[in-house]
């Protein structure tokens, strides 16, 4: 069978190119495959062709089926015509209609003759018209590639340019001793390992890239930055030993200083400033402690006011009180 021969060769070539890494050749071979497939369009069910293009795989079975059109030939070709008209490029419908008009004539003769003859003749008849289809199929493939590129920073929404970059932002990571931000080669092991990325829009690989590119606003305004639980799975698995969690924490520091802080986080800061504890004691626990023979108040800042004063002073020295908007008069947040 001619068809089978052609497809088999293309499979071998593609396998070869996989091993040799010849990407161009592989693409060329795929184009050849597509052209072969388009040949098929004219004599077989277009549904089969669509499947092949979508899946990118080649099987010989559909072609063998296609070579036996005599059973319901008229129906088959009518459905082909309808589908082809839907699928056909706007520039090419005339040629296809012409071709379709011709092809059935050939096939109508075919049943009387040997089956193989009709199959061999059919592709020769349709060759010219099929080239138009080849162009269209190539365009379709290109469109799909463009869609896949949403994995990069080039989304449809907004094209980022040099004007979005802030070199000082990148320098903050380097200055903080996280030089490894430069080592990332974007393999995605981090995102693949990330338990938060499985359920939130948090894309750790992308954030690391944005930090290196200096896309400050992109990074600090994104709520997803706060979806990291600092579990270190990414950092442990990083092939380049990038200190990913340090990068995230540094980015959060910069975001916080730019005013991006959630109120519940500020409140934890308020608790520490008021009591020395992020989770202060309550009456229920006091009772529980007494019941089991522990001091009612643990020997922490809760029991030592002078120690609490030290913590409060630290928060003033470093400006943490202003950072979270602590109101000393009320012991809460400034509104």
């Amino acid at each position: 069978m001619i068809f089978r021969g052609v497809f088999s060769m293309s499979i071998i070539n593609r396998l070869k190119s996989l091993f040799t890494g010849e990407k161009d050749k592989e693409e060329k071979d795929i184009s050849n495959d597509v052209s072969n497939t388009s040949d098929d369009v004219q004599v077989t069910s277009s549904q089969t062709v669509q499947d092949d293009i979508v899946s990118g795989t080649k099987t010989t079975v559909p072609r063998e089926t296609a070579a036996e059109p005599e059973g319901d030939k008229d129906l088959t070709f009518k459905s082909d015509i309808e589908t082809l008209e839907e699928e056909a490029p706007k520039e090419a419908p005339e040629e296809i209609v012409e071709e379709v008009e011709e092809a059935p004539k050939e096939v109508e003769k075919a049943p009387e003759e040997a089956e193989e003859t009709s199959v061999e003749e059919a592709p020769e008849e349709v060759e010219e018209a099929s080239e138009e289809n080849v162009e269209e199929v190539k365009e379709d493939t290109n469109k799909k590639d463009t869609k896949r590129d949403t994995m990069t920073l080039l989304t449809d929404k907004e094209l980022l340019t040099d004007s979005n970059r802030d070199p000082d932002f990148t320098a903050e990571f380097i200055d903080a001793g996280i030089e490894t931000v430069k080592h990332c080669f974007q393999c995605g092991t981090c995102s693949g390992s990330c338990p938060s990325g499985r359920r939130t829009p948090y894309k750790v690989r992308q954030i690391v890239r944005k930090c290196l590119l200096g896309l400050k606003e992109e990074v600090i305004t994104d709520d997803a930055l706060w979806m990291c639980t600092t579990c270190y799975t990414c950092q442990e698995r990083c092939l380049r030993s990038v200190k990913i969690v340090e990068i995230i924490k540094k980015a959060r520091n910069i975001a916080a200083h730019a005013g991006y802080m959630a109120k519940p986080h500020k409140m934890t800061g308020v608790f520490v400033m008021n009591t020395g504890h992020g989770v202060p004691i309550n009456d229920a626990t006091k009772a529980l402690r007494t019941k089991i023979g522990l001091p009612e108040i643990p020997p922490t800042t809760h029991a030592y006011p002078e120690a609490l004063a030290e913590v409060q002073k630290i928060c003033k020295i470093t400006g943490f009180d202003d950072l979270i908007g602590y109101d000393e008069a009320t012991g809460g947040l400034k509104e």
């Binding site: 903080a176 001793g177 338990p195 938060s196 359920r199 939130t200 706060w226 979806m227 990291c228 639980t229 600092t230 579990c231 270190y232 799975t233 950092q235 442990e236 030993s241 200190k243 924490k249 959060r252 520091n253 200083h257 802080m261 959630a262 986080h265 409140m267 934890t268 800061g269 520490v272 504890h277 992020g278 989770v279 202060p280 004691i281 309550n282 229920a284 626990t285 529980l288 402690r289 089991i292 023979g293 522990l294 643990p298 020997p299 922490t300 800042t301 029991a303 120690a307 609490l308 030290e310 913590v311 002073k313 630290i314 928060c315 020295i317 470093t318 400006g319 943490f320 950072l323 979270i324």
Partner: protein, 295 residues
């Protein structure tokens, strides 16, 4: 042997049974726990570490100076406290520049960080300083219990700085410590996954945290365990309080009681459920305790 005992927040202010069990355990081990009087929050890495590194490091360094005054290494039973204190200690020992910067802050409250103590995790001390043999001698009655061990994140990781000998992807330290009590550590899917509470996520976005916890509870339940064992009061809170939140949100009926490793040892040493404050936990531990004790 003396150890500076760092309490933190959640253990002493929510689950005092963990503190009680620890004090009893170390009494039996003849190791003196010295209170770090006036210690504060570690402080929480998810808030202070994410907001302002300088504040985080200064408060952590202040806590370190309390242990330096005592002259003993620090023990903490919370992964979060361990992460903050260990990391700060490591950073200040590595960088003279950072040390000078933080000491300038500490000078204003009359303190100085010297870098003379180590920060150790409770489980690390039990394995490396006490040893399995001595621990085994304390067990009055081996526990009959199948448990899902939850390691938590800020215990063995980041391995580049944390010196605890183990494999962070496939560790053994907690499983070994659990099995000394007679309980069996049952493997389960995605065992090393985070509980979901850390990094400030629980306070900021409870739904995401709950989703993490649901996944863990699914996998633990599939493995057919009687209880969860952890070494971090924040993970403990997340599995206890968080389990109620999972059930409310997803309409599930998870009922896995939560044990801190210290509570498991307390139980094996003969402490009562009340002394271990299981009666104050959200998920009823009575069936698991009865099974464990063969009652």
């Amino acid at each position: 042997m003396e150890i500076a005992y760092f309490l933190g927040c959640i253990m002493n202010n929510r689950y005092p049974g963990v503190e009680k069990a620890t004090r009893k355990l170390f009494e039996a081990l003849d190791i003196e726990l010295k209170d770090m009087e006036g210690a504060s929050c570690c402080p929480a890495p998810g808030v202070f570490g994410s907001f302002d590194e300088e504040t985080w490091a200064t408060i952590a360094a202040r806590n370190l100076t309390l242990a330096e005054d005592i002259g003993a290494d620090i023990m903490t039973e919370c992964n979060g406290c361990f992460g903050s204190l260990f990391e700060c200690n490591h950073m200040l020992k590595e960088s003279e520049e950072k040390k000078a910067e933080i000491n300038a802050n500490l000078a204003e409250i009359g303190r100085e960080y010297k870098g003379t103590v180590e920060v150790k995790h409770f489980a690390q001390i039990l394995r490396d300083d006490v040893g399995f043999e001595k621990l085994a001698s304390l067990i009055e009655k081996p526990l009959d219990l199948n448990v899902a061990v939850h390691y938590g994140c800020h215990f063995l990781k980041p391995t580049a700085t944390i010196g605890i000998e183990d494999n962070a992807e496939n560790p053994a330290i907690l499983d070994d410590l659990v099995e000394i009590t007679g309980a069996k550590s049952v493997d389960y899917k995605d065992k090393m996954m985070c509980c979901g509470a850390g990094g400030g996520l629980r306070s900021r976005d409870l739904d995401v945290t709950t989703s993490f916890t649901k996944e863990k509870l699914d996998h633990m339940t599939e493995a057919g365990v009687d209880a969860i064992v952890n070494v971090c009061p924040f993970c403990h809170l997340q599995f206890d309080q968080g389990q109620v939140e999972v059930n409310e949100k997803y309409g599930t009926d998870f009922a896995l009681p939560v044990f801190h490793l210290a509570q498991l040892y307390g139980l094996a040493m003969g402490l009562s459920a009340e002394e271990l404050t299981f009666d104050a936990q959200r998920i009823d531990a009575t069936p698991a305790i009865k099974k464990a004790l063969g009652e």
